[in-house]
Symmetry: C2
Subunit: 157 residues, 2 copies
């Protein structure tokens, strides 16, 4: 489990809130995007993001502290490489859902944007879709949030 040095969760029993505490920040999300695209070096992130160096430095430190990146200094202890941990690579689905929501909702028709394709076939990656075990689509209205210690409603399972 991720173990940031300061664990002071906004809402400890909610996984959405814990995730938002760990990665709910614009620069953090974009660093993860770039990491998934194979970028590893400070200067690569800096060029790609156009972020101030002190902020990039801060966010990289947070990401290492939060168990999402590892920092591997070069031989002399300088010029580190930053790579995703398992928990970091596991953010692929999140970044993909951000991307697909952005494509659907933040671009005018015909406006160009980057795309993610299947490397082998060149096909665009299909839309993520919440579904039931049987494969049928699941809308937010069809779901129910059950909090810790809260009894399940009578009509279910």
């Amino acid at each position: 489990m991720l173990q940031p040095s300061d664990v002071d969760w906004t809402d400890p029993e909610c996984p959405v809130a814990r995730a938002a505490d760990l990665v709910g920040d614009k620069w953090i999300l974009l660093i993860i995007r770039d990491s998934l695209d194979g970028k590893r070096r400070f200067s690569e992130f800096e060029r790609s993001l156009g972020v101030a160096k002190n902020i990039l430095s801060d966010r990289l430190r947070l990401l290492v502290d939060r168990g999402i990146l590892t920092r591997t200094p070069n031989d002399r202890g300088t010029r580190s490489e930053y790579e995703l941990t398992g928990a970091g690579r596991d953010l692929f689905t999140l970044i993909l859902s951000l991307r697909q929501w952005g494509e659907r909702n933040a671009f005018a028709a015909g406006e160009k944007h980057s795309v993610v394709i299947d490397h082998l076939t060149g096909e665009p990656v299909p839309q993520l879709q919440p579904h039931r075990e049987d494969g049928s689509e699941l809308s937010p209205e069809q779901t129910l949030l059950v909090k810790v210690g809260q009894p399940l409603p009578e009509n279910v399972k």
Copy 2:
């Protein structure tokens, strides 16, 4: 398309970046989480999030401005209700992927957390999983980011 009044994108050609500009903030993500759970009133959000009133007020204004919530004042023009727009409800997948990542990576084994279930069956919602058209799983290493104006590699489609 979403049309916030100040469009000053961090990285205009990247859907991840546009999405991060619009919803890449902890409080915004948690307000959307609560909205998907049916909360509509200022005081409901305030109680649920434990956020300062001025910050909640600011984020609700941003969300309305960004086309993710609508604000419907009561008869006398006070005590508004905030409801998700289509683009807002479309964030269900994103919030679900945040939740599932949090469940997998931000909780120790056996630690309790809230869960989302299928209202009808009571079954937990299955994991979101990037996949190909044929249903096979797709890992980050099997995908490729193609930027605007960048030619596709030779070996694909």
